[in-house]
């Protein structure tokens, strides 16, 4: 239809009549700026692409195809977004959304997946890895083993054995790489290999310094784990070690060569014998709803979980209520126009809020200490009150500390809200004969509540997952000794998740911890849906 392309159009639209010299220089300058901006853009994209390409290269080596595909799609998308003209919103949203998607949305989804596995200590890898480490763990020295002369070598932090076998052949292997011949090793006068290109030979001092890592290193003789492995007690000679447990790859069973007991894979992610004894480690499998079933039916978890959940609600509600009550009271007290020194009071009262949150818990840990703390020793004259080790007192202490560090916030927002209520309202009510208390209760308080209600809700949501104060002050304790998980009287759900996943006492159970996290997620989602319906936050979106 039209022959004129956009590029051919300008002559028609009357060129700007004789551009002034100044106009031309700005045009040149703006052209230079455009070029410079383009260069910056290309350089930044180049950096991103280089990183992405390197990551994809490593992913190819590791044969993680799914992750590779996702990485490729993301990289292409980012390039398209920034190279294609238009799509302005995407240009501005992409960086933040990338991090949000990976570290906030994906991790929640991934938690959901972990909740359906038995991931944790003793179940954190594949079945092949489990077979290997079971064999490695049950190695025993063969009584009549020949002596292999070894030199311990190192490459990028990995130790390996450079072995001269009894026939004089030179082999190299690491914990993951079975022994294999090396042609170009350096030998000393006795024919023992002492060095190999690409690897650093450890000196005597290095051997001593890394003694435990080297004596625990076992290098498989061949691909078949049943052939055994070499280990060295002294860093210079090695012996053949064989496992009591023989793995039959066809049947997928372990047999104890000494007793003849068979260990089978019964689908629970571990090798189990007929008496129910498990070989450790096991491996990671999908267990369906087992973690949730355990949480809700197993007696030694259900009870503690229920009390922790109740306390989480109680803690969040009481924290909001106590800080709000004190904050509001103080806001009213200091809302006196003629009072002097208000500023000083205000500055000092805000201090607990400005003090870093994690330190508050630790400071009160000292103050509340039963034997030496200030409260018991000085304020109560040598009393012996178990502030942090009695279940109920610990709950009180946690709330007390949270009141200390939370009331200034409520004081500040209540002061702001009170001052924004028009004076005429209370004046009119007073003229009509209302007493001060009635003015407050019937006029000021409802108005105040309208403006602070959203903040009270977010304060509740914050305290619901207020990890720091609980963990720093009591660590969730005192511990409930009958519980099957490491749960205590002041544990809230999020500290329970942390302790089950990373706790030192009971072993890590990522699966169960994630199931608890999903539970919190559901509770918070329910509360936020309800509260969003109640408030007008959604209507204000335009």
């Amino acid at each position: 239809m039209s022959i004129t392309t956009p590029g051919a159009q300008p002559p028609l639209t009357a060129p700007p009549a004789a551009p002034a010299p100044a106009g031309r220089t700005t045009a040149i300058r703006s052209q230079a700026q455009t070029v410079r901006r383009l260069l910056i853009k290309i350089a930044l994209l180049g950096v991103v692409d280089a990183i992405a390409l390197f990551a994809m290269f490593v992913l190819v080596l590791q044969e993680s195809w799914l992750v590779l595909a996702i990485a490729a799609v993301v990289t292409v998308t980012i390039n398209v977004i920034y190279l294609r003209p238009g799509w302005l919103p995407a240009k501005y949203l992409a960086p933040g959304v990338f991090f949000l998607a990976l570290f906030q949305i994906f991790v929640v989804v991934y938690s959901g997946y972990i909740a359906f596995t038995n991931y944790g200590d003793g179940h954190n890898s594949t079945k092949e890895d489990a077979v290997q480490s079971i064999i490695a763990n049950s190695l025993k020295r063969v009584p009549d083993s020949p002596t292999y002369r070894v030199t311990v070598v190192e490459q990028f932090g990995t130790y390996g054995f450079l072995v001269t076998d009894p026939e004089g052949e030179v082999l190299l292997g690491t914990a993951d790489q079975p022994l294999d011949e090396v042609p170009d090793a350096d030998e000393d006068s006795t024919g023992k290999a002492v060095g190999v290109p690409g690897w650093t030979t450890l000196r005597f001092g290095d051997l001593l310094a890394n003694q435990s890592a080297i004596t625990e290193l076992s290098v498989p003789l061949s691909d078949d784990p049943n052939d055994g492995a070499l280990r060295t007690p002294d860093g210079s000679s090695a012996y053949v070690y064989l496992s009591d447990l023989v793995y039959d790859e066809q049947a997928g069973t372990f047999t104890d060569s000494a007793t003849g007991t068979a260990y089978r894979d019964e689908g629970d992610g571990a090798f189990v014998n007929d008496d129910g004894r498990e070989l450790t480690p096991g491996w990671k499998i999908d267990v369906g709803f087992e973690n949730f079933a355990r949480a809700f039916t197993s007696d030694d978890i259900r009870g503690p979980l229920l009390s922790v959940t109740l306390w989480t609600f109680a803690f969040a509600i009481l924290s909001v209520a106590s800080t709000f009550a004190l904050g509001l009271f103080l806001a009213i007290v200091f809302n006196a126009p003629h009072m002097r020194g208000k500023k000083i009071y205000r500055v000092i009262m805000v201090l607990p809020y400005a003090f870093p949150g994690f330190l508050s818990g630790l400071v009160f840990l000292g103050l509340f200490n039963q034997d030496f703390g200030y409260f018991n020793q000085v304020l109560l004259g040598g009393a012996d009150i178990p502030w942090l080790t009695d279940p109920w007192l610990a709950k009180f202490s946690v709330l007390f500390v949270n009141l200390w560090l939370g009331f200034p916030y409520m004081f500040l927002i209540c002061t702001g809200a009170l001052q924004s209520i028009p004076e005429e309202l209370s004046e009119a009510a007073t003229v009509d004969g209302a007493r001060p208390w009635a003015v407050f209760r019937l006029i000021k308080f409802p108005l105040l509540l309208v403006s602070v209600a959203p903040l009270l809700i977010s304060s509740f949501a914050f305290n619901f997952n207020n990890f720091n104060i609980i963990y720093m002050l009591t660590g969730g304790g005192p511990r409930d000794v009958e519980a099957g998980v490491d749960a205590g009287a002041t544990d809230i759900l999020i500290t329970l998740v942390y302790k089950v996943a990373f706790g030192e006492g009971t072993g890590r159970d990522y699966g169960l911890a994630s199931a608890f996290a999903i539970l919190i997620f559901l509770i918070v989602a329910t509360i936020s849906i309800i509260s969003f319906r109640q408030t007008k936050a959604l209507e204000e979106l335009n």
Partner: protein, 300 residues
């Protein structure tokens, strides 16, 4: 008759009545204020006193301000097992980088939501509101496993690295404060953008050259809130940073004091005082802005 004595008696009476009126009106407020001063300031004074006490123990710290020495502050920097100086520096670096990046990512997104109209905008805003309700620590287990996985490909940003920790923190950049910024961006008249556009400015020039300058106050507030939040963050930092040399103050000081509370007490107190000073100074200095920001929807 009694004219000589009457005024003399009347004056104290009036004064007494004056005092009673004053007390009922404002005086009792001062009593409340004094009580609150003690309540609010005592724990802080106690730490300060303990940090100046050379005895070292918890029980020795119960005598407030009996002795004043700075030996704890000196010793704090000489411990090899607890590298306080490294913790302090790590915390500042991680906090500043996170804060700056958070502000940048958040401002980009807020600009898009405030100035551009596109499909999915409403849903996007709604998502931002919802995401605020779910703190990152809910996914702490997945974060740990994800970072272990990333560490196998990129040891430089995997588990055990500060760069990795900062990246994880950036996952929360859009969540918490973008909505706050969005509100502020909306108060800048859009006619300014339009005028610039008529003059031939590109969208990037408008954003970096004009809008960012106009919203500088909210950028400061968000940066500060992000810095303070990162400063106190314990959960994610404790699982990602394993080597004492790379740890932050929250992780380091917690381990320092949780193991032997009473023996390390005065040393811990000195560390706490030093750690609190920058945050409290910033907070009090910018208090007015922060309170404004907080009441607009975010919580510490």
């Amino acid at each position: 008759m009694t004219t000589g004595t009457a005024p003399a008696r009347a004056i104290p009476e009036r004064r007494r009545r004056g005092f009673a009126v004053w007390f009922l009106d404002t005086g009792w407020r001062h009593l409340v204020g004094l009580a609150m001063l003690v309540f609010a300031a005592f724990p802080l004074l106690y730490v300060l006193s303990a940090s100046l006490n050379p005895t070292g123990t918890l029980v020795g710290s119960n005598t407030l301000f009996r002795t004043i020495e700075f030996s704890n502050y000196v010793e704090l920097f000489q411990r090899e097992q607890q590298p306080y100086a490294a913790w302090f520096l790590n915390t500042l670096v991680i906090g500043l980088v996170t804060a700056a990046s958070t502000v940048f990512l958040g401002a980009l997104a807020a600009y898009a939501f405030s100035r551009l109209r596109f499909t999915g905008r409403r849903v996007g805003l709604l998502t931002l509101l919802l995401v605020q309700m779910f703190p990152q620590i809910l996914g702490v287990v997945a974060i740990f496993l994800l970072m272990s996985g990333i560490g196998e490909i990129f040891p430089q940003i995997g588990i055990g690295t500060q760069a990795g920790l900062i990246l994880v923190y950036l996952g929360g950049a859009l969540g918490v404060n973008t909505y706050l910024m969005y509100g502020f961006f909306n108060t800048i008249p859009i006619s300014i953008d339009e005028a610039a556009k008529l003059d031939g400015a590109s969208h990037a020039q408008i954003f970096f050259g004009i809008v960012l300058r106009l919203v500088a106050p909210i950028l400061a507030v968000v940066g500060l809130l992000s810095f303070i939040a990162t400063f106190s963050e314990f959960v994610i930092a404790s699982i990602i940073l394993t080597d004492p040399q790379t740890q932050t103050l929250a992780v380091g000081l917690y381990q320092f004091v949780s193991q032997e509370t009473s023996r390390n007490w005065t040393l811990f107190s000195a560390g706490a005082v030093l750690a609190a000073i920058p945050v409290m100074a910033l907070f009090l200095y910018l208090q007015k802005y922060i309170i404004g920001g907080l009441t607009a929807g975010a919580v510490k």
